[in-house]
Symmetry: D2
Subunit: 295 residues, 4 copies
């Protein structure tokens, strides 16, 4: 089974001033991040504005990503869409592009019909047809659907489903899943804000927006925990919470991109209807970034 | 200003057994519905599985719809997508196909960022570029976003925004919008379940899933109300609630398609991850349909 | 069966500057309201700060109310509490004081356990032991529990349960209840904001906070509807929505009391933790009141 | 500042078959629990059916508790009510009875008015008048109010407020509070389900329903963590989750009492409207208890 241990940044998708893909910026951001001891890169997750891109644009992002990510690091590709057919298409394109695994967001538009049976069948159908391992992606804040432990555990019975990224932050559910899932099933924290609590109950790592701008701090939490220095881990974790709340929870992708710009990476514009952070937000944001990251 | 008065069925999109578009069935369903005194047809609303279709498929649906809808009835086209650019593209395709107006669902994936400012800018941007009038579509049960009265009222200030379809069923909000919107702004009930209450406070009509299978009953509510026979209107309304709850609220698009099949129209398959209603649901559904519609 | 037809103000409970009961003010407010063509008075509903009073204080309010309400108008007494024993005690005190009916809020603290079975048993137990008819009170915004139609319908099967006050504003549920309840079961709108829509589907009247400060306007809606003048009813309804939203929905009991003070009635202090409306709110509130009520 | 470190069971309140207080059972349960290395006992928390008791009954429970809890263990008394005056009264009764600290639930009935300002003023008012230290109690699942970090931090500025019991399980919020609160402010996990994650970010202990029936297991988690054996702590934590979910989250106080009966303690009846667990639930519950606790 593919080993998912460790940390991954969910890369924002870089656009130019006309909101067109900026593949050069994507490559440079990946090259920068791959200097750190991260386990790989996720492209086209929520922070990658997955719902904003056409299929052809997604293909281009998968391809530049694989070219830019060293072979000893994993490329995880977000391929979830509202229909099975679109999700399967994207999964094949990602696999053909060299993705090591795909991260599949639950479909969510028909919330009333997305009961456990429908979601399990969806994941089994995608997993059955995917050439690469599948990671379930539970993202209630965006999708409006919070899959319960039983649904995830039943979906996870398929041999091609190897893990879960949970961004909901419900540690009780996460513990229930870790406790009852098949041997080798791997849970990844979906936010730096609860990385240490998740590790404490058995998560193997995390896909963390914060790792785009503070890979060092995120790795400090992870490595302190791994070597048993809980007090150090706690100190780093508490530092991470405030920064992460500002950058990702409160102001979202626009703030993450603004933070990247502030730190000398390429953040660039977001696609509308997302709006860039305004000056007032920037004035609040910059001191929080500087306080923790002293650029 | 385009007059939206009256009732519209939000047409389900017909698929064949391979989940491919069945344009013949779409045409025949439209022709059947246009025999009734409905004011027009909505294609690619929530009941039209709008999130399941590719752009090319949407174009085909717009085109067959316009060919099938008589010129004296309105064609309203659902064109909402997660990004401004995709929504504007679809809006142009719909207008080029001959749509009289477009119904634009609010983008919803980045819920945390979809504040009033972002939503108003979104609607103004779409309206600015649209060749046909725009109707705002508030659909909290699916989108997970329930736009408030102030947001809708501010969006509605654009001269190319002529109305609102509200599926949330909050009559207080609806009344506030009717009371405070620009002259001529038209509110349409988004469900037969609250058609009469909505008419009582000034809605001009409705886009009603139930009108696909019970256009007569829906028109009975509307016409009784219009001629001031409230008791009759109430009787029809109470009949409509139970049927509508079963067909659309409880079991969604799969139940609507099953009901169409049961009534001799073309319902056909849904696209996965939606699942067809199972036999148990059918056993509950059919008596409810027969009781009200005696086919 | 007791006839509940018509409108009722849910009287605020008057306190003096030490937060002690002001029985004189209660009496005078009731006497003022009973000059209008209201069907009666509710004491100790949500607007009566029911959860703030001791049992002994509640007894005093029931007694002064009965002394002040003419015999040809109904006294409805709020008696809901978290336990069956407390609710039954209060119901007996109210009945002994001369209440014509009791309004019983659903218990709500143990939300996870308040399933349909528990709620139905609660209402049947209370109804069984009550000397006067029982009205179910569904108040999701405060209790955090929104009873569904089936629960209410099953509870309503008890012969001593004669009606429902629904403050949730879900017209679809209200219609389902009206459509399926036993003959003679009476539904009252719980807010002026949806009085006309509720009447349009068969509600028999309402218990309306707004009727404390605008009994005339509320009666205008009701009477216009009753004589079939829907357009007039709609005009009054739309006037009522803005005022009611400000006074009751947005700023709650403190605003209602401030409005009463402004209009020459006794509003007086609220009990803490409720806070009086501050000057800023008052500045927004007064023009809204004056605009509609021109005192 | 009073040291809250360690674990506390929130004692259920024992009733006899007529739902009257069973003080003997309360005493015996406390004596049993005090044989364990727990730091004290909470009486009249949510598991103590706090909302079901009269003031006089509460006084009796406080008194028997203090008589039964050894002086070297803390007695924490739940004293929250809907009004400041009732909360302050109960706080004084508890202090007079010998409570070491009080746990004060947020008032919640007027949810719309319980903004940050109202809640902070409430806690400051209670703390100002309390003769013993105050612990804030955030219990969103029951109260329907989930106080945010800023509200709790501002309330905590009062010198007589020494800690927080958080039952919401939002570890991100808990981390933000720990990171930003005054020196010495103590956070207690409100559920065994997230004890270890909470300890990992700096909680000092917990008030855990599970500690009523599995004090040993709860202490195993705590002590393993305190001596740095994280793997052992994680194993115990994962055992605790399933049992705790069944006993407290899923079936609530009735299940906790049934579990106590099953384990030879006095559980006894709940007060209505709570219903005893039925046979079907018991059949599911007993194996879960036996599996973990092998009685």
């Amino acid at each position: 089974m593919l080993n998912l241990k460790g940390l991954y940044p969910p890369l924002p998708t870089s656009f130019d001033d006309h909101e067109e893909l900026n593949l050069t910026a994507i490559r440079e951001n990946i090259e920068h991040l791959c200097k750190y001891d991260l386990s790989g890169i996720l492209v086209l997750g929520s922070n990658g504005e997955l719902v904003m891109l056409s299929k052809e644009e997604k293909r281009k992002v998968y391809e530049i990503a694989r070219q830019s990510i060293p072979q000893d690091k994993l490329m995880i590709a977000g391929t979830g869409a509202q229909s099975n057919r679109e999700t399967t298409d994207l999964t094949q394109i990602a696999a053909d592009s060299g993705a090591d695994a795909v991260l599949v967001l639950s479909p969510s538009y028909y919330k009333g019909q997305m009961n456990s049976e429908a979601l399990v069948k969806f994941y089994h159908d995608i997993a059955e047809q995917s050439a690469v391992p599948v990671i379930i992606y539970n993202m209630p804040a965006n999708s409006g659907i919070d899959m319960d432990a039983d649904t995830i555990l039943t979906a996870a019975e398929h041999e091609n489903i190897i893990g879960l990224k949970d961004s909901g932050g419900n540690l009780i559910k996460m513990a229930a899943i870790i406790n009852n899932s098949k041997p080798g099933f791997q849970v990844l924290a979906g936010s730096a804000s609860f990385l240490l609590p998740a590790l404490s109950i058995g998560a193997v790592g995390g896909i963390l927006a914060l790792a785009n701008i503070a890979p060092g701090l995120c790795l400090d939490i992870y490595k302190s925990f791994m070597k048993g220095d809980l007090e150090m881990a706690r100190n780093y974790q508490l530092q991470a919470v405030e920064l992460n709340t500002a950058v990702t929870r409160r102001w979202g992708v626009p703030a993450l991109k603004a933070a990247m710009d502030h730190l000398g990476l390429y953040g660039g514009p977001v696609r509308k209807p997302l709006l860039p952070v305004n000056d007032e937000v920037k004035k609040e944001l910059v001191p929080i970034i500087n306080k923790t990251l002293k650029p």
